[in-house]
Amino acid sequence: MSPTIEERKRVAAVADGRTARFEALYAATFDRILGYAVRRCDSAEDAADVVAETFAIAWRRIDAVPSGEAARLWLYVVARNVLANHRRGQVRRHTLARAVADQVRGRYAPAADESVEAQAVRTAFDRMSEEDREVLALVAWEGLDAGGVATVLGCSRNAARIRIHRARRRLRHHLAADSPAIPGGAR
């Protein structure tokens, strides 16, 4: 038996609701997820692919995406997973993401006037483990607190707090060891 008009309307309303919800999510979080990807990927194309894949997953799983601020954290988790796959060479090139890549390519120009101090921080940061770097990045770049870091990394809030504390201590240690004269390296 074919569906009644009422049933068809109900199905259409549900579909429209999901679409509207995804559009709202996309509008509220796209810039931030793009920022997350650009800060972690070595090229604009890679970053755009990660964003495209992340939102494609969010669309498929729109009913599972939490509302409010938790949605952003949920997307960070997905993006983090996509990024890990990407590093294993397992994320596709999205033709459609190329136009997005064009918009952020300028961000990949080498910083010409990086101060000696900033260079020292970069060197120290690069020497840290990937795990430590991610903990510090989530706090400094995404502006997350221990609770947010815990959600994204899948650990307890207390564990996140300890990891943030230890990562900061190790960065200071690296800075002090590399450049004892730089104030940032002092306790």
């Binding site: 429209d16 994320v91 090139r93 459609l96 136009a99 900033a118 510090l136």
Partner: protein, 239 residues
């Protein structure tokens, strides 16, 4: 302070990217995602594997824990379908050259498709912000603005005004959901369909009539001052 030090290492700050989501590139990507074009199997990873990875990446405690098993099975089942049919999904609605405009667009307010050499826009929400329509046309590479004004039932769907380059344009009313409805007598049960040629990039603004909401003042372009719509103008046959 190490947080500030690390902050300075960021290639870009979120604030620097504010508004990117509203640009044509992001809009075209959003349309493709909603249209399901990004679920097609890629060259490197089988779709089922990506779906399984995506499922594993779900934050603990955020999704309904009790549904996980079912969700996983559904995700895998859906992914297998995608894997089997995936490449067939790639088709004419992909962007033309990767950086050019999309060939189709859909969101909750408007849907634009190609039909017989025309771009056909179906207005799903006649009360939406006109910028949404303009963004949709921009995503398919057209500089077309659509303005919808409340009119008496007999004028719903009519082209009322054209500003800028006047190209070939036509409009029609189509029953929503394919219901058998006489759109001329019950315009509120119908969707406005606008056809413009694919060629040409001139900037143009078209004004069409839409059903008035109950009590809303209607525009009467050629017959002097505006007048109030009958209270039931939105839902009944008019004249």
């Amino acid at each position: 302070m190490t947080d500030n030090d690390v902050d300075r290492l960021a290639r870009v700050r979120d604030d620097d990217l504010a508004g990117t989501h509203a640009g044509p590139a992001a809009a075209a990507l959003r349309t493709a995602i909603i249209a399901g074009e990004l679920t097609a199997a890629g060259p490197r990873t089988p779709a089922w594997r990506r779906a399984a990875d995506a499922w594993r990446g779900e934050p603990k405690g955020l999704a309904a824990q009790g549904k996980r098993g079912v969700t996983r099975r559904l995700a895998l089942a859906a992914a297998v379908v995608v894997a089997v049919t995936g490449t067939a999904v790639l088709g004419p609605s992909l962007v033309e050259d990767g950086t050019g405009p999309a060939t189709s667009y859909a969101d909750s307010t408007i849907e634009i498709t190609r039909e017989n050499g025309d771009l056909v826009a179906r207005i799903k929400d006649p009360l939406a912000d006109r910028q949404r329509y303009a963004d949709a046309f921009k995503a398919v590479g057209k500089n077309v603005e659509i303005v919808l004004v409340p009119v008496p039932p007999a004028m719903v769907g009519d082209l009322i005004n054209t500003q800028g380059h006047s190209g070939r344009v036509s409009s029609d009313l189509e029953p929503i959901d394919g219901n058998p409805v006489d759109c001329r007598s019950v315009p509120a049960a119908c969707m406005l369909v606008i056809r413009v040629p694919i060629d040409g990039d001139a900037s143009v603004t078209y004004t069409f009539g839409r059903p008035a909401r109950p009590g809303e003042t209607v525009a009467v372009p050629d017959d002097g001052p505006a007048r109030d719509a009958p209270p039931d103008a939105h839902s009944t046959a008019g004249g």
